[in-house]
Symmetry: C2
Subunit: 443 residues, 2 copies
């Protein structure tokens, strides 16, 4: 009996694509055993066929004609990145009956709903495990394993660059600039690290995580995004002194609003207690922490980027798609999902950690706490640091002589109430500076 | 347009079954949206219809006639446990064209291959996410997400009872008997805790994990099993003093044998460095740590048991199976898997941590190290504790006056070589006792 054959087309042959192509060829026998069909790599679409490629990539498969390549494949793997021509090629592949595997988080965050609808119309599969948290299986667990549960909250560290930078600032006391330089040297940050540092990469993943967890379409523009560029070495040290680490968190949660159940999806740097499972996620690692109704706490940990780790997730999808094609039947039906309202950040209540540089004299604490009370922001703890530059002139994190540091942790309040509070605090004569305001999560 | 209906039969209505039944009814609307079909619970087979049940369970659905119930269902959920009648009922369900979801690890570890073959013959699905590590999605990640990768090693904490007991001994210095009593009081251990303490429960899960990770049939009888009953408070304290915690580990790995690539699947208590991600898994939590070729390190963490957490995994499978039935096509094809040889424990090489109670006099260390050398077991570190009962009469873990404690960590050696070494050590006049020999993992 002859073994069935499936034609696989690869779009893009960069770091991840090179790994995928090499592994498809090197592991052809093994994959044949796992699928029950031969996966034949029939072509690799690239912009420049003369560029040198990953070892193990058969250069005779390279072509610049992506259009005709997608028309003759059973499975198309899209690893070009960017919106166009990736979007058009994927649509063309789906319409011609191919199943598609992609790692393109930016494309999915912007056009995911339309692409899923196209896959549904064509009765084929569209899979994207590699688009969120690289090698960590999270798309399938959220979409399938937890489909019978109700996810209440996701806290994610889904950008390795910012986690490396913040971890380095925390463990070595580096400035952010030096930590970024170190990340660049190790290949954990791009020459232009803006997309990572400003949270754009994490925001695209936040849109995908919220869509999956809440069975509700969430797009990139729905995600509240703040990056880490404002996080100083001092802020990291202050957090550490109080038993916290600062992480760039993706926070997606079910919330009660005045108009009923709703959700939010957001990305911002926040303080996390050192005892929280996510606080131990070091270096460029990623992790997604899930709280759900029945399952309780879950955490998924692993490498979020890199050629080999990402290729693992891509090939897992390829094998899953290939198995399904052999079994017959339609690829996927977009479930008639619930559609929860997305709350804007201004309506979200979170806890805050406010650090003030104040004049060290009687009555200041009373003035400050009165401002919080007037804005209806309830204070949980206040810590006053009496040390100043007079005590240790070499410690640059200390305020000048005659001044003190006030560290205030609040109960949950809205963004708006906190903004008003900070504005009023800054107007007090005895407040020299609002050193930092950061949200607190994980407790 | 009328919505499709799927008939769901539940076998067993204990702690997990009660949760599943209640949630199927309470979340019927929500699940209908996620599946695209109504999940109708048509009956619940129990031994005694008059026993009180979980709130939310419709008692009019209870029946003692499991045989006829499975014959009229599209999806059968088996939560009775045990081998018979569960095995016959599942086979009957599969043969009559129903898809089956089960949490029965003991049954799968003994008859998994036959049940999967029956599902394959009938062209329907057999899913069992809840059978390993309760609520933690691990079956689907290993079977699907990592299907395009090559898993090298799995270290798992997959039994909550033993993890609670060992953690309690470590954190509170309790004896094992007291820690077990505490676990029983909190509902983390059964009245007869043998299946947990002796590693039988973990061994069944080790068989399933190895089968999935290595695409090779592994049965319960293939698993090397050692429990924790021999672990004393002293052993835990000795490990802690050296920077280790003792965990009951499920170790499945790809190994090179003289006759080529092979695998092993085993369960035993072992020392793990406190810096290892698994060392932070506290209380009754479970976690599975995976090392794979391309993805690198991954960890999956969550609750391994309990009615609600387990029901989350069961219902995830139910929704997945329901969606697939709507899409049409065959349920699953058992992939023509690789078949790696299983190595017996005697051929496996691991590191050991040996604690000796010796006479404190010159030349003893030389005698001891000579024994290791003669048996070709290479020593990595030796630590001699000079404190004895003469220094602190109240510390019962110290050896009597005139004696010392030798703590030896070896390089990897075979079981056989170590057994020979320990036998020879015990014969030395200057060795009063071999206090403990434990394997070391995770570094």
């Amino acid at each position: 009996m002859s073994i069935p054959q499936l034609r696989v087309a690869l779009l893009g042959c960069g770091v991840v694509g090179g790994h995928v192509a090499a592994r498809l060829m090197a592991s052809a026998e093994e994959f044949e055993g796992r699928v029950g069909a031969r996966l034949n790599l029939v072509g690799i679409a690239v912009r420049d066929t003369s560029r040198p490629r990953e070892a193990g990539v058969d250069s005779s498969l390279l072509t610049t004609d992506a259009e005709s390549l997608v028309g003759k494949a059973d499975i198309v793997i899209e690893l070009m990145g960017g919106i166009e021509p990736a979007r058009s090629l994927i649509l063309r592949a789906l319409e011609s009956g191919a199943s598609v595997v992609t790692a393109n988080k930016a494309l999915l965050a912007e056009h995911g709903a339309a692409l899923r609808a196209a896959a549904d119309d064509a009765g084929v599969q569209l899979e994207y495990e590699a688009a969120v948290a690289g090698a960590i299986p999270i798309v399938r667990p959220l979409g399938d394993s937890l489909a019978g549960d109700s996810v209440n909250r996701i806290l994610g560290i889904v950008n390795g660059t910012t986690n490396y930078v913040l971890d380095k600032m925390d463990s070595s006391g580096l400035s952010q600039a030096d930590a970024v330089a170190s990340a660049q040297q190790l290949g954990f940050a791009e020459a232009d690290p803006t997309a990572d540092l400003e949270g754009y990469d994490a925001a695209a993943k936040a849109a995908l995580l919220a869509s999956l967890a809440f069975h509700t379409p969430v797009e990139l523009s729905d995600v509240h995004r703040e990056g880490i560029t404002g996080i100083t070495a001092d802020a990291v040290a202050n957090a550490r002194a109080d038993g916290y680490v600062i992480k760039l968190l993706t926070v997606c949660e079910r919330v009660q609003s005045s108009s009923g159940p709703a959700i939010r999806s957001s990305v911002y740097p926040a303080l996390l207690p050192t005892s929280h499972p996510l606080a131990g996620v070091r270096g460029a690692f990623n992790a997604v922490y899930v709280e759900s109704e029945a399952a309780g706490e879950l955490m998924f940990y692993g490498q979020g980027a890199g050629g080999a780790p990402t290729s693992s997730a891509v090939l897992g999808d390829v094998i899953s798609v290939a198995r399904r094609r052999l079994l017959g039947g339609r690829g996927q039906a977009t479930p008639r999902a619930g559609s929860l309202r997305l709350l804007p950040m201004s309506e979200i209540r979170t806890r805050y950690h406010v650090v003030l540089d104040v004049v060290d004299q009687p009555g200041v604490l009373a003035q400050v706490t009165e401002v919080f009370a007037a804005k209806a922001v309830s204070i949980e703890t206040v810590r006053q640091s009496v040390r100043s530059a007079a005590d240790d002139p070499d410690d640059e994190s200390l305020p000048p002589a005659g001044r003190a540091k006030l560290v205030i942790a609040t109960h949950a309040a809205t963004n708006g109430a906190l903004d008003d509070t900070v504005e009023a605090l800054a107007r007090l004569d005895n407040v020299a500076a609002v050193v930092s305001t950061l949200r607190m999560e994980g407790n």
